[in-house]
Symmetry: C2
Subunit: 184 residues, 2 copies
């Protein structure tokens, strides 16, 4: 049982999604997940600080990609232009991940404890975007509000697209952006 290959983390994540779908989150123990991945419960908790965390790892990549896009955006763009440019820069990434994201999202949506954790992650993401905007000279309050509103639109589009794949992600982002802009 490959121990040093260090794809243990991925095997744990894979096993977790499978088991959560088979039995539900509450009826799955950390020991069972570890067992299916060929390690002990203790190893599970070495990799993930708590049971929920096993489903929330991909976020780091997304944060990096989005903040990088914001940092290198033309200086003359306003907050929303900058944000939506960033969101569009990761559509390809999200589309490629859809086969894994969809079952994962089904589990999350069905489990209150996981939805709670999801909100934390979205908040952290939103805060990171606000920080990236501030680095471009946008001041505190507008940066926070733009990041929040933009993230809400982006998250809404992404979740709707994971639920039904048509219309596509790009179109959904367009729709969300238009809707947001016509509100103000």
């Amino acid at each position: 049982m490959e121990r040093s290959g260090s794809d243990v983390r991925e095997r744990l994540q894979q096993a977790a999604v499978e088991l959560f779908r088979e039995r539900g989150y509450d009826r799955t123990t950390a020991t069972e997940i570890a067992g299916r991945a060929g390690v002990t419960e203790r190893t599970f908790f070495r990799h993930f600080s708590d049971k929920r965390e096993v489903l929330f790892d991909g976020q780091a990549v997304l944060v990096e990609a989005l903040t990088a896009s914001i940092a290198e955006a033309p200086a003359e763009l306003g907050p929303f232009d900058t944000l939506f440019r960033a969101f569009r820069s990761v559509t390809r990434l999200l589309e490629d991940n859809r086969p894994f994201s969809k079952p994962r999202q089904e589990v999350i949506s069905a489990t209150p404890a996981l939805r709670e954790r999801e909100l934390s992650k979205l908040k952290a993401l939103s805060d990171a975007l606000a920080s990236a905007l501030r680095d471009r000279g946008v001041s505190e309050l507008p940066a926070a509000l733009a990041a929040h509103a933009g993230m809400a639109a982006f998250a809404h589009a992404t979740l709707a697209w994971l639920d039904h794949d048509e219309p596509g992600l790009s179109e959904r982002i367009d729709m969300a952006e238009k809707s947001l802009r016509s509100l103000l």
Copy 2:
């Protein structure tokens, strides 16, 4: 030991805030909270589905007040006008509750597990506002986005005001509204 008709629930909430401030959330057990309120641990969990929930009860009143205000707003008002009218209608309520809200918020802000729960509650509130807007004929997407953006502004103003009481809550809501509207 007053068993029936009593205010066990409130005693539990009171005891919880006290103990969390004295020792911190993690170092306080449900048994200790129950003990200080004069009941057993099991009774604590009959009143609150989990340990975090004991700090999040006041929300119901706020949801009621805000959705009521939205429902009775003049039909010609747009989504943001409707929302901020509602936010302003509860400033008095929030100001009166400040003596209780402030210590409570300090505990929440200092505890990751409680911040997570707080986000859930804000999401539920935001969803309720979106639903109230839809009842006025605002369609799905704009209702969700307006509610999210508006709530972000309102929450930002309220938390900042709990942290430092000057400028006052009304002024802070004015500032947040202006900032949000001038984003475009």
